[in-house]
Symmetry: C2
Subunit: 352 residues, 2 copies
């Protein structure tokens, strides 16, 4: 049994405490500076107000000011912040990380560097750790469909752990795996993280259909929804995810596995990303829609911005044709340039 | 402009009359012996009672007894019956078909021959036509996500027409394509039809999750559904569809395109297949569940039975390993052998 320290006491960071505790690990849950009230509640009565559940017995809550103690003796560090906190967590962990540590990120996102190269978040964290240490730390991440509240409720969840070292992925999987938390492994960390990021962007796109339905007056008197369009957009999304995986030279089968189709499906079932897409589909301009959802983290927007920066570089390097990824390009128009929603359906699937 | 005769006045057969009429074709809609009341209504007042819409102006309804006249001069015949009617339609059309005719099936299903070979439905129809004529008829089929009521309501629908002859597929696509009916083409008729069939079987499987949720007492007090499981099963489905396409040596990209992921998605959104899966997931034995839904066509059951017959042959020929397609095998247990629902999640994705 290991000491596992989770940094970030939001929904997903806290949810992984449940399988870890069930496996008998010593689990420490550290709130960020944004999680003060959550940790206060956990300390007072063991109740996690966002998960709306009691923490598993034995999980110890810590304020961020107590981080040093919380990391003492830890073998596994879970990075449980959202993608906007990835630089913060890299800098925060830097003084504490030592050789042999394993850092597993549940963060999902992508960044783009000055040369237009896509960078996965575990590599962003890596870059923020001290030279000499960073090479001796194991990095991993989680992909696949997993709503935090369901994991905490011990509902069946099928996920995939990725690490460039097979041994790290396998070891982590054994630590986390329970009869309800089903964990597969891969060494294709980049492919896994690309899916996790891209699916957010495309969920926004699938959400447009719901908004377009509302704009058109809703379900018509004969009962017609716009599920055909949603499903067509869903398929365009998995198709373009596969294309991006091919461009990156990573595991293309993820497109029709847990990290691609599976994670896209669960994100499309509900939540803030699909809601934001719906607002845009209704015809609400981007800026206004963003204000309506002020205060909510919308990773989809960041991913689309990252793709807007990356695509010209991919084209310049001859990796992507001008007529490829038409759906993503349409999302860029809407999100980055604020143009009204007008999906060029005829150009999808390589019709050009 | 062509004369197009649709045989079968159910939902989907009738729905394709809308884009055809919009394109100025002369459209004739022939009811089967089961569609008498529908045709009666259409003749009396132009209203299609199942679609709950007026037929497009100019579409002429025919009783089955008027088939000969309805086929006179027709260039394109649409086979609009469900998969259980495919033998009937082959035999019914046999005396009327002549060289140069194009038959496009909206029927979805698969059959298995005495040797355990999978046979797509256009080939079943072909086999029923007179020798000497059958070689001179063009066959095609439709894949991709398309709820009939939405197509009739002129909602955007993204579909794919398949024919072994590229020219046939392209010509048909031009005849049907409208600003709301977006048609791609493929020469991989077998891959297209396999997806159309398999997605039905797997939708039943995804529906199990909803039933398992109900069986467990429903959404828990903290709000946890079982979407993680649904999404995990969805991804397992697309993954196994890809595997079957590979085994058949056909277009594997359909798994993450309109015929696979797209059609599976729209079928999972609602309808009788997902409802039947839900009954089974709740723990209702197969026979009882079938009785609850008596009178409803459940193509999923037929497909699962076909796969039960085909899998041993595929294994014998060395095309499929004993540990492959674990989800389909679980569905066969439930549907063919009537065993209680118990999904071997740990064996999915090649974990064996």
């Amino acid at each position: 049994m290991a000491i596992v320290t989770i940094v970030g006491a939001g929904l997903m960071g806290s949810a992984v405490a449940y399988p870890l505790a069930d496996n008998g690990h010593s689990v420490r849950l550290v709130g960020t500076h944004l999680d003060g009230e959550i940790i206060q509640s956990c300390k007072e009565n063991g109740y996690h107000p966002r998960l709306k559940r009691d923490l598993p017995a034995g999980v110890r809550p810590f304020f961020i000011e107590e981080l040093t103690g919380a990391l003492e003796g830890a073998e596994i560090i879970v990075s449980g912040v959202n993608s906007l906190g990835v630089h913060w967590i890299g800098e925060t962990l830097a003084p504490h990380v030592h050789p042999g540590h394993t850092i597993i990120a549940i963060t999902k996102g992508l960044e783009v560097d000055a040369q237009g190269e896509l960078v996965i978040l575990p590599d962003v964290v890596r870059g923020l750790l001290p030279a000499g240490v960073r090479e001796q730390v194991n990095y991993a991440a989680v992909g696949g469909p997993c709503i935090a509240g369901e994991l905490a409720g011990k509902r069946h969840s099928l996920v995939i752990f990725g690490s460039r070292e097979a041994e790290t992925a396998e070891k982590l999987a054994s630590s986390f795996r329970t009869p309800y938390y089903h964990v597969w492994t891969t060494t294709d960390l980049v492919g896994l993280e690309m899916c996790a990021a891209l699916k957010n962007a495309y969920t926004l796109g699938v959400g447009l259909a719901t908004g377009l339905l509302e704009k058109s007056g809703g379900v018509d008197p004969s009962g017609a929804h716009m599920y055909n369009l949603s499903a067509g957009l869903f398929a365009t999304a998995t198709h373009e995810i596969e294309r991006m995986l091919a461009v990156a030279g990573v595991e293309r089968s993820f497109a029709y596995g847990l990290p691609g189709a599976g994670d896209l499906y669960v994100t499309c079932v509900g939540g803030r990303t699909i809601r934001f897409g719906t607002l845009l589909g209704k015809g609400i301009p981007f800026g206004e829609a963003r204000q309506i959802m002020a205060g909510e983290t919308l990773e989809s927007i960041e991913i689309i911005r990252v793709m807007a920066a990356a695509i010209p570089q991919l084209e310049r390097r001859g990796l992507l044709g001008k007529d490829e990824l038409p759906f993503m390009r349409a999302l860029i128009e809407i999100v980055v340039h604020g143009t009204p929603v007008d999906l060029p359906l005829e150009t999808f699937f390589g019709r050009g």
